[in-house]
């Protein structure tokens, strides 16, 4: 369970979120500029220092505090067992795909590291890319590798910020299903931020609606996204065959 109490101001933007994500897979749905990425960065432990520090933040995962500004506690990004993948794949350009995926496995012995790298690349259907350099990858391939890199350390909290935007619909859906089953198997609580209703509906998970920095609804996808679903259905029925 992920507990969040967050109050942060950046210029005229005010992010105020108080909630509990009880499901293993939560989708934060909202338009661009709603504060999804800001929220995910705080959860990851980024932007918690001055000058971007939130006024108040309390984040706990399964009862363990990750951040608590009232007591001055803030675990560093690498000490939260948290991985994040953003829209921008941010692969290290000077390292091979294998070295990128292995980067977070610094403390793992070499043979386990190699097998984990192969396993993760296999999971995201990118085993054939293992020796490539990031500059030789397409956008979709880079996102797959970024996912493999984030999963490799087996995080307890997985934050995904529109991580499949460069993949086409079918590939994205297939990968989401694999990711969801991996996250369930490895007990990794996942928070997926998206402005794409089809992504949000695809996993049938708990959905939180974020609008202008405020959570306006939280619950099962079919209920929370009822309006979006109708809108999508109408759009599809209007499209010519």
């Amino acid at each position: 369970m992920l507990e969040i109490a967050l109050d942060a101001r950046r210029g005229s933007f005010h992010l105020h979120v108080e909630c509990r994500f009880t499901s293993d897979w939560t989708v934060i749905f909202g338009p661009s500029g709603a504060g999804k990425s800001t929220l995910l960065r705080f959860l990851a432990g980024l932007d918690l220092s001055a000058p971007s520090r939130p006024q108040q933040a309390r984040i706990a995962l399964d009862g363990h505090l990750l951040t608590d500004t009232s007591s001055g506690l803030s675990l560093k990004p690498g000490h939260r067992q948290t991985s994040m993948v953003a829209q921008q794949s941010a692969l290290f350009p000077h390292l091979s795909v294998a070295a990128n995926v292995a980067y977070g496995l610094h403390d793992v012995d070499r043979s386990s590291r190699q097998s984990r790298v192969a396993e993760m690349l296999d999971l995201v259907d990118a085993a054939s890319l293992i020796d490539r350099r990031p500059r030789d990858l397409s956008g979709g391939e880079a996102q797959r590798v970024a996912l493999a890199r984030a999963l490799a350390p087996k995080p307890r909290l997985l934050l995904l910020d529109e991580p499949l935007s460069a993949l086409d619909g079918a590939a994205s859906d297939a990968l989401l299903v694999r990711l969801q089953s991996w996250a369930t198997e490895h007990r990794a609580q996942t928070v997926l931020a998206t402005h794409d209703a089809t992504d949000a509906l695809a996993t049938g998970a708990e959905v939180a609606l974020l609008h202008e920095g405020r959570l306006t609804a939280i619950g099962p996808a079919a209920e929370v996204l009822a309006n979006e679903r109708t809108r999508l259905a109408q759009r599809l029925s209007l499209e010519p065959n």
């Binding site: 980024l46 560093k76 690498g78 991985s83 941010a90 000077h94 977070g104 500059r135 030789d136 397409s138």
Partner: protein, 195 residues
Amino acid sequence: MDWQALALTLKLATVTTVILLAVSVPLAAILVLGRSRWLAAVEALAALPLVLPPTVLGFFLLVLLGPRTSFGRAITSLLVAGFSAVEPALVDAARLLGASRVRLVRTILVPLASRSLIAAAVLSFLHTMGEFGVVLMLGGDIPGATRTLSIVLYNQVENFDYAAANRTAAILLALSAFALAAIYLSGRPRGGRRA
């Protein structure tokens, strides 16, 4: 040709460059990765040698008996610029994957800012090769100990030995041209990039 002076100059330039990089790389990394408000003051202090005349620096160093960091001048600023140019998303990714600051600098910042690092090394080497005021003020003109090529050149001109001065100047010029060519060659693009 004063081979002793040439060897001494190369030795001085090498040692200075190594010391300078050993100090400047961590300092630049702290300035780029740190978030304390005191860092602005540290940065200003690091940039101070940029605006001070060499004789003033030489005098201060002479008084303080400090290390010969005055050769650094723009080196820390150059490294700060190089490290700052590394995409913040890459730094965030490395931190999220558990990289310590040292590992982050060693495996991400230094390789990705290698051009700035090479430029910093070459410029500090060249600057030391051509340094005159500080070396003379700090060490004087002792053959084999403090007499560098610049001081030899100065002495040759003072003695109206223009033929020897020409040769000394030609060596300094050739070394500088070679080093600058190395900087520009290191910056040439190596192949295209696909989306």
